[in-house]
Amino acid sequence: MAAITVKDLRKRFGDFEAVKGVNFEVASGEVFGFLGPNGAGKTTTINMLCTLTKPSEGSAEVAGYDVVKARDDVRRHIGLVFQDQTLDGYLSAEQNLRLHAELYGVESKVVKPRMEQVLRMVGLWERRDAQVMTFSGGMRRRLEIARGLMHSPRVLFLDEPTIGLDPQTRASIWGYIRQLQQTEEITIFMTTHYMDEAEFCGRIAIMDGGEIVALDTPEALKEAVGADRIRIETDDDERAIAELGERFGLEATMSEGAVSFAVADGEAFVPRLFAELDVPIKAVSLSRPTLDDVFMTHTGSTIRDAEESSATNRNRAVMQAMHGGRR
């Protein structure tokens, strides 16, 4: 059975259509990633799936329940980890989890063992009595993940779970996600704009401008791009670029002190390059398409551009929070 089924889901805010009719299915047990710059409609989509925002049109089922008609049933079966932290800093880690268990009506006798399990998983069992305000950002995120798991949700939603965290914490969060896949019957739905993390997802949907522009496994997406990237260092870069254009019809650019261009079947091209290019080559490197290239192909912008705009978006989000845009 599909854990999530989305049919022509749309969301309008006034004149602005944030989500323009998306369709997809997530199988039970899958790790499904939503990739895209901020403002692409990822969070709006996730909010509709979590019953936080009502769709303007279309329908969605999560864990077998309709997100509009059976809101409470959806809520009972999902865990949420938001971008902004939602812990009570005055309470201890344990008190935060207990509060969650009470709100979700978790059977009293399993609260304690389940709490121990999830806290041990994120490595916070020893710190369970400490006030959350003394925790670092990484610890808080880990605690939020533990809390999202307290009621054994069928689907865990993670909205940018690793944003703003150091590489080590990011790595351990991915460790938990993998471990979860093995130990629990859980589907994970996450959004991210870290390319390297998207690689860990079973399937990825790339979202841009409120639409899903590509959806497949990371491997298939990369294969679909076709071209490999070759970088060469030469004695005369300008002449090399000109010659690449004339002789091979390739559009090469200078970047970080090397000539860079994309070409199909790069391994076969390198020998030709050495044989036919008149400019002496000092060094060459070949790379397979990455998700950056996939992203570039489908959205027309690089990930760096996307991250820059997401930084402005984050500032905007902070401003919004200050003005009470959040509920």
Binding site: R75, R76, T86, H100, L103, Q117, S152, M195, R304, R327
Partner: protein
């Protein structure tokens, strides 16, 4: 263009991640399966209880708040009370002004703490915790009720501290006094907190919220007769006084405290005249009911507002 060279760098950062991921995770242990039952009245009661309990835990951990919210009532009681005593000795029929103000101060302390309790819902929103409560599979009303009851309990616990000061203003203790005062404080705290939560549904910034509350609560407190007898007031003030809901909390409180004192009839008449509506003196029970009814209405509005807010 400039983003393209990122390719190699991004690809290389991919490498250490999976390895680190394996190392960072503890070995898997037994999974405890949890099933969340469908919503029932029992789950709602549990939700109300835990939201209520959270307010108490936070109150207990926030000692600063306990101290700071005592400052204002103590200023009114001792500074204003002692200071104005010299002017008013003649007209209070020998009653210490502090004794007269005391019931009013019991009300103010609750009002201001109740207001702060309500403000916590704005803080919760600002710090994101409100969202954790709002997405739980329980009715919004349970969250709001828990919050209002929690705020009311905290405010009346605070009020108990002031009850301990009765000896300092020449009010003898009795069981009736203690339970009566606590009960009235609980009622007033409930209504004020419900009012605050109702406002908090609309006003989402803490600064504006505090501003609005001050703007509304301070005049209500001054007009209520907490600091003066509501007998021979100028016409305009008498009208405002009767319209002010706090009046109907202050008058029963004063009646309760005065019942514990040996006052001459003249003093009682001058200092605690009955509240009248067009010459009809309003029974204490009706006054108390008015406060309760207003509290319930505001709670209803608060629930409606939070339930609609999707």
């Amino acid at each position: 263009m400039s983003g393209r060279p990122e390719v190699t760098r991004m690809a290389s950062t991919t490498e250490p991640l999976p390895a680190g991921a394996g190392a960072g995770a503890p070995s898997p242990h037994q999974t405890v399966e949890v099933r969340v039952p469908p919503r029932s009245w029992r789950s709602e009661i549990r939700a109300i209880k835990i939201v209520w309990k959270r307010e108490l835990i936070r109150f207990q951990k926030d000692r600063m708040r306990i101290v700071t919210s005592l400052v204002q009532p103590l200023l009114f009681l001792f500074v204003l009370g002692s200071g104005l005593q010299q002017l008013s000795a003649a007209s209070t029929h020998g009653v210490d002004l502090k004794t007269f103000i005391y019931p009013g101060v019991l009300c103010i302390s609750v009002m201001f703490t109740g207001m702060f309790s309500a403000a916590s819902i704005v803080w919760d929103r600002e710090f994101g915790f409100l969202r954790e409560m709002m997405v739980a599979p329980v009715r919004r009303s349970s969250i709001v009720i828990g919050k209002v009851f929690g705020g009311a309990t905290v405010a009346s616990l605070q009020g108990l501290i002031l009850l301990a000061l009765a000896w300092a203003v020449h009010v003898p203790y009795s069981l009736g006094l203690i339970f009566g005062v606590f009960g009235l404080q609980l009622l007033l705290a409930f209504s004020i907190t419900a009012f605050g939560v109702m406002i908090a549904a609309r006003i989402k910034q803490i600064q504006s919220f505090m501003g609005v509350m001050q703007m509304i609560v301070t005049p209500m407190f001054f007009i209520s007769g907490a600091l003066f007898p509501s007998g021979d007031l100028p016409q305009w003030l008498a009208v405002l006084n009767r319209l002010d809901p706090i009046t109907y909390a202050v008058a029963p409180m004063r009646t309760l405290v005065f019942a514990n004192l040996n006052l001459s009839e003249a003093a009682t008449k001058a200092l605690n005249p009955p509240i009248t509506w067009f010459g009809w003196s309003v029974p204490i029970a009706l006054q108390i009911f008015t406060v309760f009814a207003l509290g319930m209405i505001m709670l209803g509005i608060a629930i409606a507002e939070f339930s609609a807010g999707d």
